[in-house]
Point group: C2
Amino acid sequence: MATLKDISEELGLSPATVSRALNGFPEVNAKTRDKVQAAAQRLGYRPNRTAQRLVTGRSGMVGMIVKIRPDLSADQTFVEILTGLTAALAARDTDLVLAVDQDPDPVAAYRKMLERDILDGFILNAPVPQDPRVDFLTQQGVPFVMHGQCRKDADYPFYSIDNQSVTAEAVGLLTALGHKRIALLNGDLDHAYSADRLAGFAAAMRQANLRVPGAFMVAEAPSENYGYSHALAMLAGQHGPAPTAFICASTLIAAGVMQAAADRGMSIPGDVSVVAHDDALPLTRAINFSPALTVTRAPLRDACTPLANMLIDHINGAEARDLQTLLRAEMIVRGSTGPAPKDGEQPWL
Amino acid sequence: MATLKDISEELGLSPATVSRALNGFPEVNAKTRDKVQAAAQRLGYRPNRTAQRLVTGRSGMVGMIVKIRPDLSADQTFVEILTGLTAALAARDTDLVLAVDQDPDPVAAYRKMLERDILDGFILNAPVPQDPRVDFLTQQGVPFVMHGQCRKDADYPFYSIDNQSVTAEAVGLLTALGHKRIALLNGDLDHAYSADRLAGFAAAMRQANLRVPGAFMVAEAPSENYGYSHALAMLAGQHGPAPTAFICASTLIAAGVMQAAADRGMSIPGDVSVVAHDDALPLTRAINFSPALTVTRAPLRDACTPLANMLIDHINGAEARDLQTLLRAEMIVRGSTGPAPKDGEQPWL
DNA sequence: CTGAAAGCGCTTACAG
DNA sequence: CTGAAAGCGCTTACAG
């Protein structure tokens, strides 16, 4: 493997000049730069990143630790995130070091990884309310970026959609269509985003002067089966008057709801409206549903490049306060929502 | 961060001695070693791995590139492998650098990763027949270990179950029970292991003097739905006399087969026997099936530690020929297999 | 058993 | 615009 020294000897220059030329320092003579670049090309020079790391004190690696969940939907989002993230990090010459967390202690895996490695930072995903990793990494002085949001007064970089607005907008659409009995099929409340969606839903319903009995706000790990069984029970009137609309935390849940409606001979959107949040995963394309799903859309893949860039900017010294992005999810109205049925205008009491 | 020099100054020793003491060199005086270790502890010394890497010429990182497949079952095995592998590698102070491959060129992602990084080696999974990655990495002189097997004359380290024996043993069990019409619901033939299982099945059936029409040997990406629809068609006699037994490439497929049998009012194992290969994934526990599944069992997780150790041994100079493991899958007979039904003794012609 | 020295391949003040 | 020098934090022949 050719080194800087090889190039410098080949050209009769000092290693320092070669280094500057290759790293685009403005002071080097244009002709010199060209010669150096040509020689580097010719010799197949690739900088030794280990040496660069030693002298710059940076490792060029960021870590990510995934919690293992016996839950396929999580796997799917995980692969989606991983795909986008490794590509975005590679574009900034950074490697992703991965570990799988099997420890109940939420920070043990982080501690272990920091002990073994010099890591420039971490990417945190799947935040829980008041996430303990935030305090740990802050106290260790390790930069990180959070995908999602876990507290109001965040003084660290994050990229998130406004999960309260996700459900609030769905409620807005449905109430405008005359719906009064709207059920929420949420994700499990361990996740910060689920808690936010519940809060957004509750506030929007309250503001619309609509009550929701507890039986119509359920929260479980997303699955088609979960959507199916709860919707079936609700539509059968087991908990009181059936909802005329469902807000689902994922398209997977919505698939179950639509199956339940079909099994009861109910039409969508004639008898029941369905809105889902759509992370745009390859396996559950909302547009392929029949009817096509009305969604609040926020492709997971879109988050990856900003996350990677924010983290690296932060490592390079950018202020956390300037690296906080909170997006509204895009509302896409398709065929699964319509006016409330005539006989469903009565609110829950 | 404390350095070797800090310790050496603290103790009035040379950095060389401190290094030797910490790295367990036999020649250092026991008392010296104790003093050094105590001081290291006290100062919270952790070796700078970047510096170690620079001087040893090793990066302490191995790469793995996962091909993205819009196929949940692959995700599940992927997470399983990742969990075991990161743990096993961490035990040998090695990091796993991960990338997701979206390029149709099978070696492009490897080339890119090698350009960006100094990697000590690769872990290859999901081999295809005559895997082109083998030639590429061999030619680049990069050590690797293969999970699975993709050619007979392998001169590289691998860890695999004998996939021909997987189906051959299943055929052996079923023919001993008097079955003559045995269908194979294989995984897609892009995978080397599927091709091997087909070969093992075909050879074992031939040896038992049993013919299998092409319609009863199908190959698709594993899913419950795939198992269900094919088994249903076969049991309905759409392709000729129904099979009395199914060999399934995964427990997921077996779940579909059992559902199909149930839907046709057939009992297991009274009317139909089912054998599946079981990678022991958390979501599809063969023992929880009803009846419990007879399987050829080879837990994916079991492969991780050997794979990690073989790769690191190979990097450290062990011969490839000494790092080749081919295991027979364990046959576990449970409730889903039984004697062929009386009216099913007629072989296919 | 221990130390002094060289070196891994870079980067970056400091001079000129 | 370029070079000589020091240094990042280790390891490891080579001497003693």
